[in-house]
Symmetry: C2
Subunit: 118 residues, 2 copies
Amino acid sequence: MSDYPSVTLRVALGPETLLGPGKADLLAGVAETGSIAAASRRMGMSYKRAWYLIDTLNGCFREPLVLSSKGGSAGGGAALTDTGRAVLDLYRRLQRNAATAVAADLHELATLAAPAPP
Amino acid sequence: MSDYPSVTLRVALGPETLLGPGKADLLAGVAETGSIAAASRRMGMSYKRAWYLIDTLNGCFREPLVLSSKGGSAGGGAALTDTGRAVLDLYRRLQRNAATAVAADLHELATLAAPAPP
């Protein structure tokens, strides 16, 4: 995110069930690359951390969000489940609708900020 | 925040100008207690960290958000400036309006989450 002003949303579904822009980007990366390793590389995140985040997410929902397979002739891979796609789509919609709802106030807040250094 | 599901908003006005629930609570604490030390104690935050956050915030806006005085017969104190009050009020309104805008989708997302442990 390089545009200012902007807002990002963090969703708490429970004390351990947190969803923000980082996890959403990771889910999107898995959907687009078909691989946890490729998704983590794209984000400059270690594979270990990506795996940990996905494992945590999987345990927070009624169904896993990501299914992965190891090895095989295709070298393994990962994909979003139906629930994973639903969660990602809902998060994206929440984020979009929140940004729209606050646009005018955000602009007003930005007028109070110091100008960016040249 | 102990209610679920809930959303929190983080505002980026520039690469270094970030405002989220923690800084907003700190500003509110200064307004209510008249003291950076009391505000930080109330949040379980070190005085040093509270002072650093406020110093950073002050540098991010056209006017400081918090003015503090040291010593004197009253033992010093701190208060929000007009800009500080405006920033806090705007942040609170952003947060409220975002929460309202996403309520229905948030409820739908919560139905996908695993039940909380008993």
